[in-house]
Amino acid sequence: MTRAVRERPQGAAIARRVAGHIGRGLVMIWVVATISFFIIREIPGDPVQGMYETLLQKGMSPDQAERATAVLYGFLPTGSLWHQYVDYMWSLLHLDLGQSLSTPGVKVTSLIGSAAQWTVLPVLAGTLLSFLLGVTMGVYAAIKRSGKLGDLLALSGSLLHGVPVYVIGLLLTAIFTTLWPILPAGGPVDVAYVPGFNAGYIGSLVYHAVLPVATYTLASYGGWILAMKSNVVAVLGDDFILAAELRGLRRGFVFRYLARNAILPLFTILALSIGMLFGGSIFIEEIFNYPGLGLLLVNSISTRDYALMGGAFLVITVGIVVANIVADLLYTAIDPRVRSGETA
């Protein structure tokens, strides 16, 4: 009964959690890599074999052609399936994703590297904005839950949560570039400006990012407001809030107790939300002609650039895995119950 205060093996618990996440993430990356390997091999008319034969016809020796194809796709065109697979995985381990076919001579990794910033930054901005907006509105919707305004906020949340991201993007574009043209229709930046740290270039970047970031924000705002509302309602019913009031705590403290307890469970959805936005980037970048990973993936499919396609697919997956781990670490850092290994 008068059990001693339990020891807190914090370090070990956190390490175990992180190790588990990394393990699962690696398995997922392996599965996705395997899928993309087999898909590239299964594409009608086997592009790898096709390339190999084209090079042979151009008069290359089988040896040269084999090496050239291997450079392009990251695995050998000849040999057994198993041999090809091992070869492909080996290249992956060395972060070698082959070369792009549509822009010859350029490595897939460098194409992906320059595209990644155009996806990661807007996704992060959109996540942050929608989180702040959704959490604030969620608290408001919870406090006003019996009124008309609360109903309206909740319905707007459900609708935005339910509507696909491209509908939001297209509607925003239709409104702000066609009907009331105050924002640029597409592209990441105005070509008139010299890239660099100057006001014109940065201003143009921000100006062009308004619509994509707004789309990312609205796409995940609905989920946040709904989750936050139900969390706040639940915590409001908890005894410790009433207890804090009865102890005469200042409103600021009571509100902080409420907000922190209600926000905490949201971190478990954070990873899901970021994953959704990464997937949504495909539509958003297509609509706004934004040169990120999603557009790279779609373009690689229409230009039949399979090495690039496999690479972009893999990197988007890795992005989601990393977001998962980061979200869980944030959660662990904030919740003392998880930190002490209670629910680990």
Partner: protein, 338 residues
């Protein structure tokens, strides 16, 4: 520890009425309750669930939660005035500093995300305590007084403490600002027997050391018998009987109190002697509007009970609200209870 006012304050509840808003209109959960807590005593309030005892407890801090509302009455506390007339900052400062409130143990009255020590500091800052170090020292002293390692407890989160430890932390937080009126709402419910006994002993000892005026709400007559000086019995939102505890338990006058005591099974003796009270406890909706609220379950019901609500009558320091008391009554068996 500074003890500015050595004398414990008295508490006078007068005509307290609390109504709850329901689809069927506003229904009273507490109606016209008069109750005086003598300075320096422990008053127990017992009653079935739904009798309005928790609502009464919350009224002492003017903290009845919606859809409830205090519609009439006053709660005078010496040195503070009418709590029900307070509002805003004044009320907030009175809570915690003048009147301490201890929650039921099983329900969690502590923020799960903060250590006890940090919550103690939040409490101190909320009440403009200048010397937070002294506050922590006081808290450790109180926890040690209750048999806990203060430093470790302050460094713990709620989930690292057992139910009995949490309850002691709750008592510490209610007392650390030197509140002299303390309300304990079901302090031992959901605790095991041994912890219950420890908590009750602590309540009694701390009460005497600190010259407090204490109100203990419980449905457990046995628990209250161990600590209280006087006992108030609630039924259907009314205090039907109030008096020194030994007298109320030894010679109950209200038929409900008599039934309540008959219903207690004894450890020694025939279990079949314990008789449950017939009928069901009333709810807000089933409470009679006129007449005595207990008449449906009463074995001494008279004609007048259907139409006239009995007034509380005080006699020899005991207050009873019943038309039948004072008239010849069937002898109550098992008077030996004390």
């Amino acid at each position: 520890m500074s003890r500015d006012s050595a004398a414990a304050p008295g508490v006078r509840i007068r005509g307290l009425t609390v109504v709850y808003k329901t689809p069927a209109g506003e229904l009273p959960a507490v109606s016209g309750v008069d109750l005086t807590l003598a300075p320096g005593t422990i008053t127990g309030v017992v009653g079935e669930s739904g009798s309005g005892k928790s609502t009464l407890a919350l009224s002492l801090l003017n903290a009845v939660q919606p859809p409830g509302r205090i519609s009439a009455g006053s709660v005078e506390i010496d040195g503070l005035g009418d709590v029900l007339a307070l509002g805003g900052e004044e009320l907030r400062r009175a809570r915690g500093r003048k009147v301490g409130y201890v929650f039921q143990a099983a329900q969690n009255s502590l923020n799960p995300l903060k250590t006890i020590g940090k919550q103690l500091l939040d409490l101190g800052r909320s009440h403009d305590v200048d010397d937070l170090r002294e506050l922590v020292r006081d808290a450790k002293g109180l926890l040690a007084r209750m048999g806990l390692d203060g430093a470790r407890v302050l460094d713990s989160h709620q989930h690292e403490l057992s139910g009995g430890m949490r309850q002691r932390v709750g008592i510490m937080l209610a007392l650390v600002l030197n509140a002299q009126v303390v309300v304990l709402d079901e302090p031992t419910t959901a605790l095991d027997m041994i912890t219950q006994a420890t908590i009750l002993r602590i309540i009694r000892e701390v009460h005497e050391e600190r010259a407090l005026t204490t109100l203990v709400i419980t449905h457990d007559v046995g628990a209250v018998a161990e600590v209280a000086d006087s006992l108030a019995v609630m039924y259907g939102g009314r205090v039907v009987e109030h008096g020194p505890i030994a007298e109320v338990l030894g010679g109950p006058r209200h038929p409900y109190t008599q039934g309540l005591i008959r219903a207690i099974p004894r450890l020694s003796g025939d279990i079949s002697l314990a008789r449950a009270l017939p009928g069901r406890p009333p709810t807000l909706g089933t409470l009679p509007v006129a007449g005595c609220v207990f008449r449906e379950r009463c074995d001494r019901r008279m004609e007048i009970c259907d139409t006239v609500e009995p007034e509380p009558v005080t006699h020899d320091g005991r207050t009873v609200s019943c038309h039948a008391t004072g008239r010849p009554s069937p002898a109550v068996k098992r008077r030996e209870y004390a």
